[in-house]
Amino acid sequence: MKKMQLTLTVNGEAHELLAEPRELLIHVLREKLNLTGPHIGCETSHCGACTVDMNGRSVKSCTVFAAQANGAAITTIEGLGSPGALHPLQEAFREHHGLQCGFCTPGMITRAHRLLQENPNPSEEDIRFGMAGNLCRCTGYQNIVKAILAAAAEMNAVKEAAE
């Protein structure tokens, strides 16, 4: 199949690559760019393990063609925090036991990151609704909700202190 030339900006870094028109964004991220943080759980948009940020919106990269992402700015879990300085969400998930097997976690945190930009002061209900596109089989969500609430408070406090 004839390949297309694509330009993607992933976690701030520009990439030029060739991909078939039918190739899914998740496969390009995982296999061509070696960003294995986003996972594949269902390939039908239900589970959210593949969630990444594309041009400021959460997308499920298992049902986005790489070609649709041409020219886009993409953030994956690898673009949040660093080993020495975890993102407040990463820290809060650890602190509040918001993960177990870890498979949903990258998508979960990437989605939560976008949610807190959409709504910096979410209620528990807002979080449960806003996170409903991301499935977790281990935690029962209770501690995920707790972690996101805690991260929101932390991020707001930091922002306030800066202002």
């Binding site: 190739e23 239900h46 097997c101 209770q142």
Partner: protein
């Protein structure tokens, strides 16, 4: 070190982060950054991709397979069929249950989604294209998806390979689709008591077929190194050592030439216990091509072909005196095992530990009979977040108690309390042969009822019914009660084995000279946090901080042999091995300390992290000091170094228990059930890490919520799977998942080194009856006795409709 300002004993305990500490998980730093290492993340040079051609039919003869078009596609390396595997004798493989299973369709297919051919290509897209190019011709055969119909005299013969075989791995087969009859207890005595009982309640209770559905599907990368003759298999294995042994037996490759690695596993819940055709085909393909071969199933393949759970039709009869004292329990199960008996149970237990069905109650006489049956459904029968068939047993007894309470006109909480095994009866011998290790059911039960305000709830419920009858509301209240007893920690080698391997587990510890350590275990975490909790067990045993102890699992070249992680066995078995290996370390450390302090070893006592001379607290040696000495001093009569290994054969199972209460508001017109309150009290013996226990309970309850309220694998009459994607297979989101309140009592196991019993599966076992009983309870006053799960909105609406509540 001794010159430093003394720190208090309390601070020294705190520093260890040992037993009872809500230690944060060491796994989380990598998982939160997307740096986990799951099997599909693995990329090896020249790696090929495998994909399956699967049967669209549930029962058909395969008349021809034409792979020429697929082979002509650029990038396709091979297409394997049963014909190709037959010369290696790998077209069939043994199952864990003593049956055999086709690896690739051998002449016929027996369930929808069955593996027919394995395509290998240099790219996963090309492999998928090639799957479509393999032309398979089928001749359809009559399909049986109902286990009762499968046992009718003229039912189609499913397993032609078993023609003429009137006995199988578990005794006599009385019909061509019959697998076994497994019986426990005293049938005649039970019948006699039931025949003359004052009250008898009888019900058929169906625990539907469902699926563990971990978020990561099953998969592997098989890599045959032709130069060294070594086969390495990375895969989603809950029991890596067993996989190595099976791979050796099947392939003929010597076991030391096989290395099995379970990397991070994205949830298991029983799905990753079995050995699947995908693993076998990837191994063969790697041997044939000389290249690594990756096979990762997609979600539809996962739901249709690997490892279903439950599918038990349970006929229960319970007898009691008029005042509510239970006198007998009888249970007959028709167990739908699908096309091959691939249940993952200890060999001698074809229905697992279903005979825990007497539950938390002192029942003098009981009988269980389980008939295993073949149907045109996928094989499996795994313990989906429960010990072997224990959730089925807990569901049946907890439903029967409710039905009995209706029959007696008594409150179901009172019937339970009246029949609990009393604290002074432990260790308790059950009528079906188990020795319950410890329990204090009345204390747990009273605590639970008090916590939820049980009397007030019943009053509110009664008032609601009156208001409903007056036409003032369309919502009813259901109060779901459960007191469950689990049986976990398989198990004693004398009666528990898998493919002949005794179900012990193991731990090997090496203390490094500067006072840190590594411990390796035969188990493998799939989210349970072993790297965190096993270090805590060890910290308390050997006095080194948990933060200074690395836990490693899952690599058969380095870890000691163990039977893996499922059936809540890691803490009861491998946790015990860890404690015992730690004690060996301590015993040697005591000898070293005695030498260093120039006293008799009997004059020393252990104190948190050190040996202290009795009566002279200022004279001591810490474990870190002892470790250093063990490597740099010649100590007469002792070998250098500080290492230990323990293989632990548990003397008994452990018996965690719990009391759950679920309060639901049910809309009679829409069938929507809102969980208003869920209280879960768990007693898992000694609590290692309360934070992780709570997380396990939340997760298990959510799986129970899913199973009870909507999740199922259903088949239509011609064997089509009706719930093959996450569109149809219910996995609750954060939105509909209830909020839980957790609580505990702590009754240690008397036979476990640290008294721990295991907790991962309790909430699933106890949660399902709690949710289901709440639905039943809401409609109890209108005459409902039994309605089958899952209680989705439509089925709840139907209950209301059939009871005439829609006017």
């Amino acid at each position: 070190m001794n010159e430093l300002a003394p720190i208090s004993r309390e601070d020294r305990v705190e520093k260890l982060k040992g037993l009872g500490h809500s230690r944060k998980r060491v796994e989380d730093v990598r998982f939160t950054q997307g740096k986990g290492n799951y099997v599909d993340d693995l990329k090896l040079p020249s790696m090929l991709y495998g994909d399956f051609v699967r049967s669209p039919y549930a029962h058909a003869r395969v008349t021809s397979i034409d792979k020429s078009a697929a082979l002509a596609l650029p990038g396709v390396v091979a297409v394997l069929t049963a014909e190709d595997l037959a010369p290696l004798n790998l077209h069939w493989m043994p199952t864990l249950a003593g049956d055999k299973q086709m690896v690739l369709a051998d002449g016929k297919v027996l369930f929808q989604g069955q593996e027919v051919a394995f395509v290998v290509a240099n790219d996963r897209y090309v492999a998928a294209d090639a799957v479509d190019l393999v032309v398979v011709e089928y001749e359809e055969l009559p399909v049986v998806t109902d286990p009762f119909k499968a046992l009718e005299p003229d039912a189609p013969v499913l397993r032609e390979d078993l023609a003429g075989q009137t006995s199988g791995a578990h005794g006599e087969r009385r019909h061509h689709n019959h697998i076994f009859l497994w019986e426990v207890g005293d049938k005649q005595a039970t019948e006699e008591v039931i025949a003359s009982a004052e009250v008898v309640a009888e019900e058929m209770v169906y625990y539907h077929r469902t699926h563990p559905c971990p978020l990561e599907t099953c998969g592997c990368v098989a890599s045959m190194d032709a130069v060294n003759g070594k086969l390495t298999i990375h895969g989603t294995f809950q029991a890596p050592h067993v996989v190595r042994t099976v791979a050796s037996l099947l392939s003929g490759i010597e076991e030391h030439k096989i290395r099995v690695i379970s990397p991070d596993i994205g949830g298991g819940f029983g799905n990753k216990v079995g050995v699947y055709p995908g693993y076998v085909c990837a191994i063969v393909a790697s041997i044939v091509t000389g290249k690594p071969v990756k096979w990762i199933e997609d979600r539809m393949e996962n739901l249709t072909a690997t490892a279903f759970a439950r599918d038990y039709w349970m006929k229960g009869r319970i007898a009691a005196t008029k005042d509510g004292r239970i006198t007998a329990l009888s249970c007959h199960v028709t167990a739908d095992h699908g096309a091959f008996d691939a249940c993952a149970d200890p060999t001698k237990f074809p229905a697992g530990f279903f005979s825990i069905v007497t539950g938390s109650y002192d029942i003098p006489v009981a009988y269980v009979g389980v008939d295993g049956v073949y149907t045109n459904k996928a094989p499996g029968g795994v313990a989906y977040r429960c010990s072997f068939r224990v959730t089925e047993a807990a569901y049946l007894i907890e439903r029967m108690i409710e039905v009995l309470a209706i029959e007696l006109g008594m409150d179901a909480a009172e019937v339970r309390a009246k029949n609990f095994i009393r604290k002074d009866q432990f260790p308790y011998q059950s009528a079906l042969g188990w020795e319950y290790d410890s329990g204090d059911y009345h204390t747990a039960w009273n605590k639970a009822l008090k916590a939820v305000g049980y009397e007030d709830l019943r009053r509110e419920q009664a008032e609601r019914v009156e208001a409903f009858k007056r036409g003032e509301t369309r919502k009813l209240i259901g109060i779901g009660l459960t007191h469950f007893t689990e049986i976990v920690g398989a198990g004693p080698v004398k009666n528990c084995d898998i493919l002949g391997m005794g179900m012990f587990d193991s731990c090997e510890i090496r203390i490094h000279p500067t006072g840190s350590a590594i411990a390796r275990l035969g188990t493998i975490s799939q989210g349970q946090g072993h790297a965190t909790t096993f270090a805590q067990i060890l910290a308390s045993e050997i006095g080194l901080p948990a933060d200074s102890i690395t836990i490693e699992e899952g690599d058969t070249d380095t870890a000691p042999y163990g039977l893996g992680t499922y059936g809540s066995r890691s803490t009861p078995v491998a946790g015990a091995a860890t404690a015992m290996a730690g004690r060996k370390i301590r015993a040697k450390a005591q000898m070293i300390a005695a030498y260093l302090l120039e006293v008799h070893d009997g004059d020393l006592e252990w104190d948190v992290d050190r040996f202290v001379v009795k009566g002279a607290p200022e004279r001591f040696k810490t474990m870190a000091e002892i470790a250093y000495a063990s490597y740099n001093q010649a100590i007469p009569g002792l070998e250098p170094g500080l290492e230990a290994v323990s293989y632990y054969d548990p003397p008994n199972m452990t018996y965690p228990f719990g009391a759950y209460v679920c309060v639901m508001e049910i809309d009679v017109d829409t069938g929507v059930a809102d969980i208003r309150q869920f209280y879960a009290l768990d007693d898992c013996g000694t609590r290692i890490n309360p934070m992780i226990i709570e997380g396990q309970v939340h997760g298990g309850l959510t799986e129970a919520f899913a199973i009870a309220m909507g999740q199922e694998i259903a088949y239509d009459e011609i064997g089509n799977v009706k719930n093959a994607t996450l569109m149809d297979f219910f996995l609750p989101t954060a939105w509909e998942t209830p909020h839980y309140v957790t609580d505990f009592t702590e009754t240690p196991s008397p036979h476990h080194p640290i008294g721990a019993k295991g907790v991962g599966e309790s909430p699933n076992v106890g949660g399902v009856p709690a949710f289901s009983n709440a639905v039943h309870d809401a409609f109890r006053v209108f005459g409902l006795k039994q309605a089958h799960m899952p209680h989705d909105h439509w089925r709840i609406w139907k209950i209301a409709h059939d009871l005439g509540l829609h006017g």
